[in-house]
Symmetry: C2
Subunit: 433 residues, 2 copies
């Protein structure tokens, strides 16, 4: 993609309304545009990151056998009356009347609808377990939307729903989702700490929040240092749920089982929440199947959310510096930035275009800054939008055939010949996730 | 994917509420589930087709330089008041009040929002042309939703918006979109005829509808036989817009410039609509840029829609028989179906599993019918859901090492050894789109 044609409205000034770093950087990098209070359009750069995150989530959900669907954003109030949540949900639920004066609502979550679909079609224990999920827009009419996409009103969420024959099987599904969440966040360059949580308005028996460690997080969490050092293959529910972790308001230094260096703390951002809630929805909505003994059984359910838009913000909170964003390679909107410092100089233009073609042919997504701008502007914009590698083509490339490459994350710079450069880039993208 | 674990609620009976074939087949094949009048959930099989179609559209939009974004479903009424459409749109527009009593609406289209985003950020002719598009849910409160997803209330649409400096450049953008549409529909196994159209509520100067030929279409179109025989490389705007085509109500046998065998007719389903409307939205919303001469110019715009969910129905209308759907390979939910006719027989099970692994390793999406069901049920379900190839593993596979393969579209059957089978499948998927 050539930057001269790309819709990338970067801002030099820090927008005054943005209080947290991710919000400021997302506005400055031209990733999002606010259209109403708490409602954002995702512009091309932001959309690309959102899509990368969706793909990672989809891969990990598919791996554990979850099946993707898409549920309506507008749902009938009647279903929600059955579960008792229509009245209980409060003003965060956006209630709507259609032209025939029927009550609809904009889905803030989808337990009711998916349970109703399940009960219409699944009648036998032989078809269990089932996990259905979607990545779709939700609406919660927050009284005071803030922090950009971190607490918006219209937001993208992954929500999964599980149906099992009995408690034991439901617990196994819960555990496999817990482990999938850890893999999902890790693949995005995030360390996530699962914290036992209250079940809140969703209700139920067992619940974990996943907190991403970021210095600018909203709350403090305390946790066992083993969370950080544990090997990937050991990150099972059995191992991890034994370790201590607690949110600020639950932590008590007196009674905490771990002490000293073993006890760590960090600011955290909640990016996922999982629930096992038994028959809370299957009972009122009549989701029962015939069991092996011929008797009807209410199915045991769970639900599992990830804030997809919020993840974009969380990744930025965890990966940035004063100059801008530093994307992990797995979620970067482009693999590398190519900067032409002498736009209009025929020799430099032709060399830069040649590299652009080479990188494209290698299957890389390249953002080529071919604008007629000062070098300083190009450097600043490229640092701001945070692509992992910057390849700089200037007069040095002509005079002694060398290109500067900058690693955005480490700040390291290399001066490479064309062959070395191609090898460097190849290695960087073969060895990464 | 093993069918025993797949959420595929096929129906034997024809649902009485469904009047058109695609609606009946989508319900019977377990692709969709109605949750309210004109509102559907897309179940796993349907979702897979939707995603394939999205990917083809995305590829062709990206090719012409359109940039993907995602715009909010809920939009502020104020923007729509500026363009004059808030009052004019009528009851099809779903009007909503949020908790602070502000007027919102559920986007039925997005000219206003995208024009406002454009004018906030693009200030110079140097940044033109720009084409932004999204694939996202819309809502139109149809008084009488019908024909399933063909005329639903909440529906998935590709909508693109173009911004050019002048009429000539805008016309070029329009033409490249017109050609992209032809490639898009062709890649899905559809012959689309562009028909000059009224501009209707979107307004403007130039407009084409794209009609898919299907015997069950809603309206009749008349067109030049050359549309069908023209080579792909000749399918340019310049060539095609010269040919005669007209909707029923516009066609007049007396004045029609073509006659006899050259004049063909077919039922048609509208699956796309493109508009060039000049400054209709840029003027009220103030979308102007500085031109090369330093003067401010209102940008020339167009918008370009494709009904994504409706395309699923249109493909089925064009590709089915009495037994069910016949998916074109480019949009099939799975590449092939593997039928085990002796589920529970250890030798057959192990052979079927071996093939399942082989096909998966080849990178194919396989639906393996491992259910404990009669052969008749398996054949009927597989014909109904319409995967292009069926590979049948039964006692013949054990007794003389031969597998039956059925081409769903042609009905041809082949009896092949394992090696021949693998070669056959490899060839089928290498030579296809």
């Amino acid at each position: 993609m050539k930057l001269s044609q790309f819709f990338l409205p970067t801002l030099k000034e820090v927008p005054s309304e943005a209080q947290v770093i991710s919000h400021r950087l997302m506005l400055r990098a031209g990733m999002i545009h606010q259209t109403s209070s708490g409602i954002y359009a995702w512009l091309p750069l932001g959309f690309r990151v959102l899509k990368k995150i969706e793909n990672i989530i989809t891969r990990e959900q598919d791996k554990i056998g979850a099946q993707k669907v898409i549920l309506p954003t507008l749902q009938s109030a009647d279903l929600w009356r059955k579960s008792g949540r229509y009245e209980g949900y409060g003003k965060e639920m956006l209630r709507i009347k259609d032209r025939h004066d029927r009550d609809l609502l904009y889905s803030p979550t989808a337990e009711e609808v998916v349970t109703d679909i399940f009960q219409s079609h699944i009648k036998s224990y032989k078809q269990l377990p089932q996990v259905l999920y979607q990545i779709h827009w939700k609406f919660r009419d927050e009284i005071r939307p803030r922090f950009g996409v971190m607490r918006g009103r219209e937001f993208l969420m992954k929500d999964a729903y599980s149906f099992d024959l009995d408690f034991e099987s439901s617990k196994k599904t819960y555990e496999s989702m817990y482990e999938a969440y850890l893999r999902t966040f890790k693949a995005m360059g995030l360390t996530a700490i699962p914290v036992k949580a209250d079940t809140g308005p969703i209700g139920g028996d067992l619940s974990h929040e996943f907190q991403v460690m970021a210095p600018t997080g909203e709350s403090t969490i305390y946790y066992d240092a083993a969370f950080e050092t544990m090997k990937d293959e050991d990150r099972t529910f059995a191992n991890m749920s034994k370790l201590y972790s607690a949110a600020d308001e639950m932590h008590n230094f007196e009674t905490c089982p771990i002490q000293g260096d073993q006890l760590k703390s960090s600011r955290g951002i909640e990016i996922g929440h999982i629930f096992q809630f038994g028959t809370k929805y299957s009972e009122p909505l009549g989701a029962q199947v015939m069991g092996p003994d011929g008797k009807m059984v209410m199915v045991e359910m769970g639900s599992y959310g990830i804030g997809v838009g919020r993840l974009v913000a969380a990744i930025i909170e965890a990966h940035h510096d004063d100059a801008g964003i530093k994307w992990p390679t797995s979620v970067t909107p482009f693999d590398l930035g190519l900067l032409n410092l002498k736009q209009g100089d025929a020799a430099v233009d032709s060399l830069a275009m040649e590299l652009y073609e080479v990188f494209n042919t290698m299957g890389l997504d390249v953002l080529y800054d071919d604008r007629d701008e000062r070098a300083g502007t190009k450097f600043a914009d490229m640092d701001l939008i945070g692509l992992p590698l910057q390849v700089i083509v200037g007069s040095k490339a002509i005079s002694d055939g060398r290109f500067e490459v900058k690693n955005r994350s480490t700040g390291e710079r290399f001066l490479l010949s064309k062959d070395e450069l191609i090898k460097f880039v190849t290695d960087a993208y073969n060895t990464c996730c």
